[in-house]
């Protein structure tokens, strides 16, 4: 047996990559839901939850970003889906980081920008995961 088909699979996420990528969605979503709860109740603990969930989302997103970068570098065709996925993930992570700084403010100083950013970052994470995981499925068929 030879491994001639192997290079074709390089731009697709492996299982660990996929777990990290998919994990960003519930983490950022949890942050958003916590922000909504704080917005409605003034109960500070929700804001603390949001801060940690966003930090967790950043960690997962950042590691997935490393995988995506390696995949992009190793991909034979650097344009197209692999690049779009990488850029989307990068934007998600950068906005997530800005959101984390926003959430480092004290008490109501987080609002309303923190909530708005959480909405944007959560939506981006969903789209990015969709794009990234779709390429996982179609990657083998290239």
């Amino acid at each position: 047996m030879t491994v001639t088909a192997h290079p074709l699979y390089r731009s697709t996420p492996g299982p660990l990559h996929a777990v990290l990528l998919a994990g960003t969605v519930p983490l950022f979503l949890g942050g958003l839901l916590s922000d909504i709860a704080y917005y409605k109740t003034y109960q500070i603990q929700w804001s603390n939850f949001a801060s940690w969930l966003i930090a967790g989302g950043l960690l997962f997103c950042g590691l997935a970003l490393l995988f995506a970068l390696v995949n992009l570098i190793r991909a034979e065709r650097k344009a197209g889906r692999a690049l779009m996925y990488f850029l989307l993930l990068l934007v998600t992570w950068v906005l997530g980081l800005i959101n984390a700084f926003e959430h480092a403010k004290d008490a109501w100083a987080v609002m309303p920008q923190g909530l708005a950013l959480s909405v944007v970052v959560t939506l981006l994470a969903c789209v990015t995961a969709w794009v990234g995981l779709t390429s996982l499925r179609s990657g083998g068929e290239q």
């Binding site: 109960q43 500070i44 801060s51 959430h103 480092a104 004290d106 008490a107 109501w108 100083a109």
Partner: protein, 385 residues
């Protein structure tokens, strides 16, 4: 953040005005905060570090690591050290532990043969006889003080001249309610405590962190230095020196410097904002005033009437402020002009920080005693003979 880069004093000393000299009368202390001059001239030094605030957000974890770089690495002493200059030559040859196993002692006061110590969790009392160098026993508790979380743990203390009323400054449990409003019950206020029974009542409220209290001897009026809130930029909100008016509300958390609303405290309380009193005298934002005492004629003509204020120094400003002891001139019991630098050089022009002033105490013999919690030193400033 701009963290003080600590270095040792070495051969250097703080800078004092012409005609004055400064000496280190005690070194190798364990985080000296406030001092008290006893009737016989002995000096008591409260040493310790308190607080047990949980880290709630990622930023708390990160900030604690960074801020620790600007503070002493020594463990707090939880004790009172007594310094004695028996022959009056300005050298404090005796340095001995007066009382230990206290819980982050800070405020000190003496009246009617009783020595009062404000620990971070309780106001306690020792019987004191003239000349004593060691407490005769364990302290007696006067009353518990609010100590849950203790974000701002220092309990400042003053006593009325008749010795019947004690005033304890209790700092807020957060910068601006970010630990929730529930934990701010009995916080950010000055309590008046009956020395006999330990009964207390709020004397004035809305004072975010009243770090030092003192009675102005001429009027009998209570004064405080108060540290105001952070994260509104480098030029807000001014820390202040103020007379503490009975029953008054000074704004925290709803507003600052009178009616300037702080939207970070939610839900808001417009009635409280309307009732907020403006403090008397701005010391500038982020100077971190931690000590105050009123001067006497023996301090010299230029500094005879007014208040000395110890400024620990900023951590959240590109252009650092504080790191000195200033003098606020008074006339007729009110501040009457711009502050004058009294002791400087704690932060050198080389950007290094050698000391950070905390408590200041006027010795009736004509000296200013300054506790330095970075160099773990007590300084004494006197007029040159």
């Amino acid at each position: 953040m701009k963290i003080a880069e600590p270095v040792a004093w070495g051969d250097q000393k703080p800078t004092v005005p012409q005609g004055y000299e400064v000496t280190a009368i005690a070194t190798d202390l364990k985080i000296p905060r406030q001092t008290l001059v006893l009737p016989n001239g002995d000096i008591l030094v409260a040493e310790g570090r308190g607080g047990n605030a949980a880290k709630l957000k990622p930023k708390d974890v990160i900030a604690s690591v960074i801020k620790a770089k600007g503070n002493t690495q020594v463990k707090g002493g939880n004790r009172l050290t007594l310094l004695r200059d028996a022959d009056g030559d300005g050298t404090y040859e005796l340095k001995t532990v007066f009382a230990e196993n206290l819980n982050a002692p800070y405020g000190l006061a003496f009246a009617n043969g009783k020595l009062y110590v404000a620990n971070q969790d309780a106001l306690v009392r020792f019987d004191y006889q003239d000349g004593q160098t060691k407490a005769s026993g364990a302290p007696v508790k006067v009353t518990d003080l609010p100590s849950a979380i203790n974000h701002h743990w220092t309990k400042s203390l003053a006593i009325s001249p008749d010795g019947r009323s004690l005033y304890v400054g209790i700092g807020s449990n957060s910068n601006i309610t970010e630990r929730g409003m529930e934990v701010e019950i009995d916080r950010a206020m000055v309590w008046q405590i009956d020395a006999e029974t330990g009964a207390h009542r709020p004397y004035a409220t809305g004072l975010r962190n009243p770090t030092a209290l003192k009675i102005e001897p001429g009027s009998g009026q209570l004064w405080a230095v108060v540290n105001e809130r952070d994260e509104l930029g480098p030029d807000l909100v001014p820390d202040y020196l103020t007379s503490v008016r009975e029953g008054a509300f000074y704004g925290w958390p709803y507003s600052y410097w009178g009616q300037n609303v702080d939207p970070r405290a939610q839900p808001q309380d417009p009635q409280k904002v309307a009732a907020a009193v403006k403090p008397d005298y701005s010391l500038g934002s982020h100077v971190a005033a931690l000590g105050v005492d009123f001067s006497i004629a023996a301090m010299g003509e230029q500094f005879a009437e007014g208040a000395f204020v110890g400024e620990h120094g900023s951590w959240n400003r590109d252009q650092p402020v504080g790191y000195k002891v200033i003098f606020v001139p008074f006339s007729n019991g009110r501040p009457s002009g711009e502050p004058v630098d009294f002791v400087t050089g704690f932060r050198g022009s080389d950007g290094k920080t050698r000391g950070r002033p905390v408590g200041v105490t006027v010795d009736p013999r004509g000296a200013l005693i300054i506790a330095d919690d970075l160099a773990n030193t007590v300084w004494r400033v006197t007029r040159k003979p």
